[in-house]
């Protein structure tokens, strides 16, 4: 039984590796059908990440398009040895940081004042807040308000780990930082979040 499970896992991993290699080959050829398929496949996750990063839906859409332009132009740099979403998110992240540097002469790491980088309002008059879908109204406000106050540098890794379910090694790739730094930011972010949630609980 264990052997069968082991074989199944091995075959699954091989299938995933083959898929990544075919994506890499397609990007090097600049295969339009592949890129269209990738845009469809990753649109929701990438847009969500950009919305959290930029706190602005319109800007997030601009970055969304620009990210895929970069994927087209730099597809030859993706070698298929790592997950595609990690590479994709790292491109998006660099675009946002470059833009922020131009606008504010700051990097994401230097945005330590959480109020300067509050999360976007996820609720609108027509669509319920995504957090409302899973929590009561009070809880979703508490979670969102607490997340707002977590510094951007920590919030980002919380989103990548717990929203995108990215392995730590892939997060390190997205951030271009060592694994130890990713863990450190995660622990700090969780500590911040925990303290803020407990603070609200006692209010």
């Amino acid at each position: 039984m264990a052997a069968i499970c082991g074989s199944t896992l091995y075959l699954s991993k091989m299938a995933i590796d083959d898929d990544l290699r075919s994506v890499a080959a397609g990007l090097q050829r600049r295969d339009p059908e592949l890129i269209d398929r990738l845009i469809d496949q990753y649109q929701h996750r990438l847009f969500r990440y950009l919305v959290y990063l930029t706190a602005n839906r319109e800007r997030a859409e601009d970055f969304f398009q620009e990210t895929w332009i970069r994927v087209l132009e730099r597809g030859h740099q993706y070698d298929g040895r790592s997950r595609f979403d990690a590479w994709l998110f790292s491109i998006a992240r660099h675009l946002v940081i470059d833009w922020q540097r131009q606008k504010k002469a700051q990097s994401l790491e230097s945005l330590v004042e959480p109020q300067l980088n509050a999360l976007p309002e996820l609720t609108d008059t027509e669509t319920p807040s995504p957090l409302h879908l899973v929590l009561s109204h009070e809880e979703s406000i508490a979670v969102q308000a607490s997340l707002d106050r977590v510094p951007a540098i920590h919030r980002e890794v919380l989103l990548l780990r717990f929203q995108e379910d990215m392995p730590l090694s892939d997060i390190a790739r997205v951030l271009g930082a060592p694994l130890a730094t990713v863990k450190s930011r995660l622990y700090r972010g969780l500590e911040n979040l925990r303290s803020l949630l407990m603070e609200r609980q006692h209010e």
Partner: protein, 160 residues
Amino acid sequence: MNDEAIHSRAERLIAQDFVEGIADADRRWLEQHLRECQHCGTSAALTGRALRALNSAVIPTPAGLAQRAQFRVHLRMQERQENRIQRGFLWIACAASWLFGAVSAPYVWSGLQWFGQSLALPHLVPEIGFGLWWALPALVAGAIVLAENARYRRQRDWSN
């Protein structure tokens, strides 16, 4: 172990469990502690709910988001293709120019020498003239390419 150390250990294990998992022995200790300590239990529960909510949160994508991106990517592909053709012509023109220059150089040099001698100009004048004739087309082509690149970068600079 005093109370503060126990709570610190619990907080550390709660975070570690979320980030990278904990050993079975630590998990048993933590579960026991969370059953006994209301504060730590509440803290773990709140954090867990918040992180699960984050995982489930869906931000509605604008209608047509993917289609607009696909359209832009296809436009860019077309642009690249056109640029490649133009560059191809440019390289052919450069090669032809170089070939013409190489073939005609002796004649141009002779012509300039004769011109210089006819007007009794110093030797340096036809020599500089020949140098300019040789280098000027390349300088002009280089300036055009740089200007085109700068214009392209300005068009793509979306901080404007």
